[in-house]
């Protein structure tokens, strides 16, 4: 029974690829349905091939505006969380100080908390302060929940760094600023980049926390949520497909550049 032995030998590969299929199936459906011409308001059933939506991706009222807003928030949240998170990560790895344990738990807790709990409690705070819900409250919330993920990513990288490299720089009469900019930062850069990328993805895609703290401001995930009730335009699938392609190209080019650099060094 060669088929059975073959199956047995490649069981892990088959199971793994099936999972990968499960993971990518919705992306395939989103792509296919971006070429659909729906009959009613909802784009859940295949009707007819058409490229209308691709020719006019911003043809739906308010959709591209919400997309722009989400991008804007994600960029600012990424910058804020990355700066604050990198500072915390360096302090945690490089210095001994009192209350390190308490700081570590404060960093860990937001990741171990259901989003709906954080969302609701933050809204309670904003309501009590009488804050105007909108762009700023969303940004504050996003920096808050991205922070812990950046700290974790940067910490992992800084921990694996050899402190002797910095000592060597200082032995060669580099000042603290010079050491930091020319030695420490370049080595920590992949960790910081990973943290920033994660923060961007989390912020850009966040729905639950934004839903609570946005007031009447509409980000892209909130637009999609609303359209699930009102009727989903095909353009949503176009944006979804485009985002997937951009992400794949972006990560792929990053990896190729990284590989090339490594090869040059070797």
């Amino acid at each position: 029974m060669s088929v059975v032995t073959w199956l047995k030998r490649h069981l892990v590969v088959i199971a793994g690829l099936l999972t990968l299929g499960y993971l990518l199936l919705p992306n395939v459906v989103v792509t296919v349905f971006s070429f659909n011409k729906p009959k009613g308001r909802f784009n859940y059933e295949w009707q007819q091939f058409s490229t209308d939506a691709w020719k006019d991706p911003c043809g739906v009222a308010d959709m591209c505006g919400s997309l722009g807003l989400s991008l804007q928030i994600a960029v600012w949240a990424t910058i804020g969380a990355t700066v604050l998170g990198t500072m915390i990560a360096f302090a945690l790895v490089r210095y001994r100080f009192r209350a390190r344990g308490a700081v570590n738990s404060l960093i860990f807790l937001p990741m171990a908390m259901p989003e709906v709990v954080m969302a609701a409690s933050l809204l309670t705070l904003f309501l009590n302060m009488g804050a105007q819900l909108g762009f700023w409250t969303i940004l504050i919330a996003h920096i808050m929940f991205c922070l812990s993920f950046v700290v974790t990513a940067v910490k992992a990288r800084v921990m694996s760094m050899d402190p002797r490299l910095e000592q060597a720089a200082q032995d060669l009469y580099a000042g603290p600023a010079q050491t930091f900019l020319r030695v420490t930062l370049p080595i920590a850069a992949p960790g910081i980049a990973a943290g920033a990328l994660l923060a961007f993805a989390l912020s850009f895609d966040d729905f639950i926390i934004t839903n609570f703290n946005a007031g009447s401001t509409v980000t892209f995930p909130m637009f999609v949520w609303g359209s699930a009730q009102r009727g989903t335009p095909v353009q949503i699938n176009v944006i979804g497909t485009a985002m997937f392609l951009v992400a794949v190209l972006f990560v792929l080019s990053g990896m190729i550049i990284g590989n090339r650099r490594n090869r040059q060094k070797a």
Partner: protein
């Protein structure tokens, strides 16, 4: 937003002094802005919420703290089914994620070879596509006259699941099965990535050693690989279970009124009914329950170094 850059070095000319002397206050300056952010926008809100949960009053007349602890009891009594459902759905999704995610993580870590990067990208890339769009795609996949329902019907699987109460009649959409399927799908990458990280750290020579000692592949997995991947299993299950238990998106988009989870209740109470004390009490109970479960789980599995 106050961006505090590098703290000014204590020594202006570093040449004469010992080079490695660092400012005693440097760590505190580095920590201050970020921690302040977390205290003001994470810890303080929790206190506000605790206070809200023991208030009484109305939206028109305002709320006052009256230490009305009965809200906790009442909301727990009323929404007990939703709590239970959340735990069941999240547990089912976590187990499914582990069963589905382990082979893929193993494949990437040991078998993928030069395909490793590509598979990694395909696991991560969906993170950048809106998860709401992808969740809506499940409506198409599980549709009443779609291929999945058709196949399950032909195989008479739906009869069994209907009997078990997982599906209803000839439908998959708007049933518990659809919600669990969505939850599993949405949180699967959170299981795969930590599993991959801990599998990748395993020294391949251990597998060879087990083989040299006449261990069959399954025995090697059971006695060597799996125990060594426990940190990944623990953090993966936590990263899946916690967000799944609080999720309301899947239950709303793929479920029905019979599949409402506690997240749906909190969302409705907070944003539609505007009953803030009940909403606050419910989210506090959810938080406490999850922290309790997580603590017990971490103690049991004996892994202290997480994430």
């Amino acid at each position: 937003m106050a961006v505090v850059t590098e703290a000014p070095p204590v020594t202006p000319i570093p040449e004469k002094k010992p080079p490695r002397k660092r400012g005693r206050w440097t760590p505190y300056w580095l920590l201050l802005p970020g921690l302040l952010w977390l205290v003001v926008f994470f810890a303080l809100p929790m206190i506000y919420q605790a206070s809200t949960s023991v208030q009484t009053g109305s939206l028109e007349e305002g709320y006052k703290v009256t230490w009305h602890f009965v809200t906790y009891w009442d909301s727990l009594a009323e929404y007990w089914p939703q709590f239970l459902r959340s735990v069941f759905y999240a547990a089912a999704a976590t187990i499914l994620c582990l069963l589905l995610g382990y082979p893929l993580a193993y494949l990437i870590a040991f078998r993928a070879g030069r395909w490793r990067n590509l598979i990694m990208i395909l696991v991560i890339a969906p993170f950048f596509t809106s998860f709401l769009i992808r969740t809506l795609a499940w409506k198409t996949i599980l549709a009443d006259n779609g291929p999945v329902v058709h196949t399950l019907n032909t195989l008479h699987v739906l009869n069994v699941t209907d009997w078990l109460g997982w599906t209803a009649g000839d439908r998959v959409l708007a049933t518990p099965l659809a919600v669990v399927c969505g939850l599993t799908y949405n949180f699967l990458p959170f299981m795969i990535l930590p599993l991959y990280t801990s599998l990748e750290r395993i020294d391949g020579r251990l597998h060879e050693a087990a083989g040299d000692l006449y261990a069959k592949p399954w025995t090697t997995f059971r006695k060597v690989t799996f125990p060594l991947s426990m940190p990944g299993v623990v953090s993966g299950t936590l990263l899946t279970f916690i967000p799944a238990a609080g999720d309301y998106v899947n239950a709303e988009l793929l479920g029905s009124t019979d599949t409402r989870m506690i997240g749906n209740v909190i969302q409705t109470q907070f944003l539609r009914i505007l009953d803030y004390p009940t909403a606050a009490a419910l989210s506090f109970i959810l938080m406490a329950a999850i922290l309790l479960m997580v603590t017990v789980y971490i103690r049991r599995s004996g892994t202290e170094d997480l994430v």
